[in-house]
């Protein structure tokens, strides 16, 4: 398995396959279906300072090759997470990446601070959830100064490697990625979901109370791949790629484009075995193609 190990700055993963925040809960349920020890890393559902109720139902809507979600960050909150969920994850031989989401800069600071003494491997700072209110003007990750500030503080307060998770809903994602790099992020996770909506023709109402929801899945893959490309061009720190990854080929596309690791999101719903299948596929791929170390493939895109 060693040929698959990758480094996300100071964070070493035994393989580059992670499961994306919000699609894997805190691992407990999926542990009944797959062996969590095989995963490169588990990113937890984003946690907030207080438990969050989340948005009213419906929260999901299927589209052509995609899924809209408006969960609104329902989660158990920091205290229960630390008491009940984290200990469970610590039992496994995989990297645990804790995702945090705040409603203000100060909440991110409190979260980073509170998690300082806990045992886990990296902190993913979700500044890009389209389903909750950030600032009046938009998402934190749409504002380079706020992005810088949040990431800077998280880096200072947490002694863990910090990953900044960005939104694709932006003219130039490179600018935000650079701000996060400057702020000390060790990696950039690309991408969170795309702003989108659906309407119910019978009632002429938006399907979602918030109107906007986040689109993920194979439908967005070509867009997500391009965002990875843009971020890779903008920064020197590693990129974690995601968006519609469903199989080995998808994973390879992200890796070749520049992702040092990849995450499976909605793919876990489609088939919980997808992450494991990708890991097995990568093993075969490097063997069949006589690639000593998978990391040699990262960013090997031959763009002339």
């Amino acid at each position: 398995m060693d040929g698959l190990s990758v480094k996300i700055s100071s964070l070493k993963l035994k393989n580059p396959v992670m499961v994306a925040s919000g699609t894997f809960g805190y691992g407990e349920e999926y542990a009944q279906l797959i062996d969590l020890n095989e995963l490169g890393a588990i990113v937890t559902k984003s946690i907030t300072l207080k438990p969050r109720l989340g948005n009213p139902q419906p929260r999901l809507w299927e589209t052509q090759g995609g899924l809209l979600n408006s969960i609104g960050l329902q989660n158990v909150g920091l205290a229960t997470f630390v008491d009940e969920k984290l200990p469970y994850l610590q039992k496994y031989d995989t990297r645990v990446i804790v995702s945090i989401a705040g409603e203000s800069v100060s909440e991110y600071c409190q979260l980073a601070q509170a998690l300082k003494k806990e045992t886990f491997d990296a902190l993913e700072v979700n500044i890009s959830c389209p389903n909750v209110q950030h600032t009046k003007k938009g998402l934190f990750a749409q504002d380079k100064d706020l992005s810088y500030e949040i990431i800077r503080k998280a880096v200072r307060l947490s002694h863990k490697p910090v990953i900044a998770k960005l939104t694709p809903n932006i003219t130039d994602i490179g600018i935000i990625a650079k701000a996060c790099e400057k702020a000390g992020a060790e990696a950039i996770a690309v991408v969170n979901t795309f702003n989108a909506m659906a309407i119910d023709l019978k009632t002429k109402k938006p399907v979602f109370k918030n109107i906007v929801a986040g689109l993920c899945g194979p439908a967005i893959k070509p867009q997500a791949l391009y965002k990875v490309y843009e971020v890779k061009k903008a920064v020197k720190i590693p990129v974690i790629g995601m968006g519609g990854i469903m199989n080995l080929n998808d994973a390879l596309e992200f890796i070749i484009t520049g992702a040092s690791a990849i995450a499976v999101g909605v793919g876990n719903f489609v088939d919980p075995k997808i992450p494991i299948n990708i890991i097995k596929g990568l093993q075969h791929y490097i063997k069949d193609n006589k690639i000593g170390q998978l990391k040699q493939l990262v960013g090997s895109l031959d763009a002339k």
């Binding site: 919000g22 809960g25 559902k45 299927e62 899945g217 876990n268």
Partner: protein, 256 residues
């Protein structure tokens, strides 16, 4: 809960656009409880991304039976699966009906009767008392399971929207009449069907002070409790997961 590629033992049209699907998987079958469901991948590709949740209608040895109605693209694709093919299934999932001894009335609307038939058989086996079953259907062509239920000893009453069989009207009206003429109330009501039916039924059960369990439906993402996608509002203000905290809830737990 497990994931397996299950062989389709049989698959056929029951009536109008209702199908019965029989799957082979011993360990799933042995674990299944009434009210639980399977989450089925209806196609190989990703055109339709999500699995489709369908209740377990019956267990026969290593066979799991499903009754479903074709209502959209996913169930259309499912209907094309042929016997002997394999389909990817996760199950049994969710929290089923709480079995209680005593006189029970089961109220099913549409395909809701599918999971109640499994419950009826289980109650009969366990307590040797077959429940009363009220079935609501649009018309007599859409009527499911009534004969099978009678065979296991249930008293079956039917309500059809068009009066083509049994009581002419809603199954909830039939329920009200039934309870009003009973000398003793049932100990328990179990219900599965469309939301308006459940709402009305829960209202009636409150009125008659009969405990009631309802099986709910919501669009599902993971189907196993991880994504918080399938919630229903709980009476304490929190959101409960249909896939894991339900699909069967005590009527007092949820806001319908």
């Amino acid at each position: 809960m497990l994931q397996a590629k299950c062989r389709v033992v049989a698959h056929h049209l029951l009536c109008s656009n209702y199908y019965k699907l029989v799957l082979q998987n011993r360990s799933m079958a042995s674990k299944a409880k009434p009210g639980q469901f399977l989450n089925i991948k209806v196609e190989k590709g990703f055109d339709l991304l999500l699995r489709r949740p369908l209740s377990i209608h019956q267990i026969k040895d290593s066979h799991l039976e499903i009754i479903y109605k074709v209502v959209g693209r996913g169930t259309e694709k499912l209907a094309q699966v042929k016997a002997q093919e394999k389909i990817d299934v996760i199950g049994p999932l969710g929290h089923g009906y709480a079995l209680t001894e005593g006189k029970a009335i089961l109220v099913g609307g549409g395909t809701g009767i599918a999971s109640l038939a499994f419950l009826a058989a289980t109650l009969k086996n366990k307590y040797n008392q077959a429940p009363i079953v009220l079935i609501g259907a649009r018309n007599k062509e859409d009527l499911l399971c009534s004969e099978a239920l009678e065979k296991i000893g249930c008293t079956v009453k039917v309500a059809t929207d068009d009066g083509s069989q049994g009581f002419h009207g809603l199954v909830t009206e039939l329920f009200r009449e039934m309870v009003a003429i009973f000398s003793t109330h049932p100990n328990m009501v179990y219900a599965c069907g469309p939301l308006p039916m459940l709402r009305e039924l829960v209202k009636l059960c409150r009125h008659f002070r009969i405990p009631c369990e309802v099986s709910l439906e919501e669009h599902m993402g993971c189907g196993i409790g991880a994504c918080m996608g399938c919630v229903v509002k709980g009476t304490k203000g929190e959101y409960l997961r249909v896939c894991k905290d339900g699909p069967v809830f005590n009527a007092n737990e949820v806001v319908l």
